[in-house]
């Protein structure tokens, strides 16, 4: 059953995604929906809801979270039979830029073997970091990382993500429709809420994407759906 058929049809969720915990796994109290979530500042997310609806069919899949590691996110997906990979891409990119710049400064004057242009830098990053086999993942949580990367990186990262996804896989990405008041990190609270945690900014917002630009970035995905919240965060769900 396709995602959109599912959305139109019966939205009842399977027991596997209805909060059944894996025996032996310490259940996160945040992984099951409840009234306490509002008090914790959870943000309702239709994108996340549909993303998880789509994952129902993919038992024991692999999920890649491109944000920092959180117990709640890891527990949520592990309890649903997923193998969870965490790769905090913005932190890795920040660290890479620091070492790359140090390397550049240590070069002798006139040494032109090292190209410091954004495309060359992005190529170097992707040749050393973010190394996974093609079609490794069924699901990716990209959060809002594309807003903070330069255009050379954005193009390469979206292309790489497309390669990493298995057919039928889904990516959830967020885009700020206007510059946000703070730099946020995100974690999943339950099947339709995530939490936005203000954090020290790793980067300044690089770009506010228009809808057309987003569609172009994910043109290799056969299906796209987007939702705009009151906070002007556009959630994009991309199905390969």
């Amino acid at each position: 059953m396709g995602l959109f058929q599912k959305l139109r049809g019966n939205p009842a969720r399977s027991p596997a995604l209805a909060g059944a915990a894996v025996p032996g796994m310490r259940a996160s109290p945040l992984a099951t929906p409840g009234p306490h979530l509002a008090a914790r500042g959870g943000r309702p997310s239709n994108g996340l809801k549909d993303f998880i609806l789509h994952l129902e069919d993919l038992n024991h899949g692999r999920l890649l979270d491109l944000g920092p590691v959180w117990q709640t996110t890891v527990s949520f997906f592990i309890e649903r039979g997923f193998k969870v990979y965490t790769d905090d891409l913005l932190s890795s990119w920040k660290e890479f830029l620091r070492t790359d710049e140090e390397r550049f400064r240590s070069l002798a004057v006139g040494d032109e073997t090292f190209e410091f242009s954004p495309p060359a830098r992005a190529e170097r990053f992707l040749s050393t970091t973010f190394q996974y086999a093609e079609q490794s993942f069924d699901a990716v949580l990209a959060w809002d990382l594309l807003d903070y990367l330069d255009s050379a990186m954005v193009a390469r990262i979206t292309a790489r993500l497309s390669d990493l996804m298995r057919p039928g896989g889904a990516i959830l990405a967020l885009f700020h429709s206007r510059p946000p008041d703070a730099f946020y990190r995100y974690r999943v609270l339950d099947h339709q809420n995530f939490e936005m945690l203000p954090a020290p900014a790793l980067f300044k917002l690089d770009h506010v994407f228009q809808n057309r630009e987003i569609l172009n970035l994910f043109s290799r995905f056969h299906s796209t759906k987007s939702y705009v919240g009151r906070d002007q965060i556009r959630e994009g769900l991309f199905l390969k």
Binding site: V22, P23, G24, M25, R26, V69, Q71, Y85, D88
Partner: protein, 174 residues
């Protein structure tokens, strides 16, 4: 018969009584430092660097450097906040509060502490990630059902002697 009248003994001067309202001098507060996590087992301290394989059966605290493999059959391995480990660790429980690169195979539990930085894969039954932990890699939680065959086999071994006893009891009745 006649009780001798009590003599009026001179009252000895009482020592000066300290009025209750005067506060007592503050008692010194003894802060007991928490015991090190693996104090009962072995310790690879800060100044020690090991290349190779470490095996054992009791708790191990690594505050130094280890490159290679750590296998602790029944105990807990703790990578302390100053520990730097590039190895595969296999133990019942693993706690990482320092830097770790490699594979963690914690049979019962893996804990990545607030100061822990893990780059690698985790295979365990339960994982605890404290806020502030840095992790890059894969988490593979083995389900309880996967461990069940081993446990049921152990139970059946223990029950085996009961069968001949039951047979004997029936023989006695007949």
């Amino acid at each position: 018969m006649w009780r001798k009248p009590e003599e009026h003994k001179p009252v000895s001067p009482q020592p000066d009584v300290v009025p209750q309202s005067v506060p007592e001098p503050p008692k010194p507060v003894h802060v007991v430092p928490p015991p090190p996590p693996a104090a009962s087992g072995g310790v690879i301290s800060k100044a020690i660097s090991i290349k190779g394989e470490v095996t054992g059966s009791e708790d191990l605290l690594v505050d130094g450097e280890v490159n290679g493999k750590i296998t602790i059959t029944e105990g807990k391995v703790t990578v302390g906040s100053s520990g730097r480990v590039a190895a595969d660790i296999e133990a019942a429980e693993i706690v990482v509060r320092g830097h770790f690169k490699g594979a963690l195979h914690g049979r019962d539990r893996v804990v990545i502490g607030q100061t822990g930085q893990v780059n690698g894969n985790v295979v365990t039954r339960r994982i605890v990630i404290e806020e502030g932990a840095v992790f890059s890699g894969q988490v593979d939680v083995t389900r309880a059902e996967e461990a069940r065959p081993a446990r049921s086999a152990a139970v059946s071994t223990r029950l085996e002697p009961a069968i001949p006893i039951a047979v004997r009891a029936r023989d006695a009745n007949s």
